[in-house]
Subunit: 133 residues, 4 copies
């Protein structure tokens, strides 16, 4: 399953090259991840209240063409693998309504216990929602 | 008393205008505040471990001349008032070794209790160090 | 005249205190300013193409209550004074649909010539739109 | 060749999880890259004045253990390949003076012509310095 979310590029996201600074694309991937999880009924707040975090352990991006100030971009987030121990997502950023790809990416999150910091399996009630992908 | 701290301007702190984005100067004021407190033996970690926060409640800045990528700037932080209930600082940012002022600012922090969020007085052991200004 | 724009609080805008880092509110004021200008038919791109910038010269904020991750906030931007040489705005940030004020602020921008960096008067065609406030 | 640069973790680099937000590590990689180039006598300003940019086209990171507020970290940047058309770097972030790895990463930059945006070969005078790796 894929979920799309729009983002208007802010002036403060640009750098001296006149384009979006590359570190910001990783923030946009986060927007995509959050919206994906929201779409299957999972919020960060709910996970935290169960004592669960899901830190990023690996992420990468390829920058094909830069986004610019005031562009309306679309972040498409695709769940590749959602299991009891990890979340794997692919990302594709385009200008809204256009085919041309600006940025692609891939990330891995693992579930960890807030108290111990150890990797854990999420409870069954979350896992059921992950099956919806 | 005044405390100076240096900062090398990062590329990611610039914006499309080719100068430092103004919101970053408030981050540099924070650097100044942290170094000021460190110089009188107070760390954020110590305050938190006593259940105390000191959120910003007011801040302002005047932007006289922009800082640019790779500039070495100096943030001079002056304690105007450090009492049991508040911290008032003035800031002055210059290029290191130059007189010309880039940015000036002023801030107010109040001490609050982490648990209740209410404004509180800091314990005597902190207050003694504040007298060193 | 006032213009409102919504903003969903991103996870990356929070800090270790569990609330939005205060420097981000100045970025949200920028969102408000951009949307205000857009509403009267002025875009940054148009100004730049005429060789005009309008850097911030003064800004301040009062932080009444913090915004938190995933809050839907509303930034209300009011033009106090739009003349041929300066733009003065007031800002008010609330949770959308609520009265309680989170942050208030005030800013001053002046028009400058890109080439010389000197303060200038904007051409009449911009000034006419500023009269719409 | 490897070049090390220190960085004190700022409060504004943390997020609600109480650790550094992962997007910031890509900014630290940039610090490393800038210092590496400076060490072989190449500055961004010099490249730009010759009409050359070197945008990032690929980057990745693995997050082994988080950095925290006020940590003194060390970013070690190793040149893997510096040719007339591209720069390839590896990164390793540790706490200063400790062996434990916090973050590793890898990036690819290509040289482009500012005017056309096309990939180009850098002039010989830069290439000679790249041979110093």
């Amino acid at each position: 399953m894929s979920v799309k979310v729009e983002h208007r590029v802010h002036f403060y996201e640009t750098d001296q090259m006149g384009v979006v600074h590359h570190a910001n694309y990783f923030r946009w991937f986060e927007l995509g991840r959050v919206e994906y999880l929201r779409s299957i009924g999972v919020t960060l707040g709910e996970l935290i209240s169960e004592g669960i975090l899901f830190p990023i352990t690996e992420i990468d991006a390829k920058f094909h063409s830069p986004a610019r100030y005031d562009d309306l971009v679309e972040i498409e987030t695709t769940a590749v693998e959602l299991t009891k121990v990890k979340l794997v997502f692919d990302y594709k950023i385009t200008l809204k309504g256009e085919e041309k790809i600006l940025v692609t990416g891939h990330s891995l999150n693992v579930f960890t216990d807030i108290a111990s910091g150890k990797i854990i399996r999420v409870p069954e009630n979350f896992h059921e929602r992950f099956r919806l992908i």
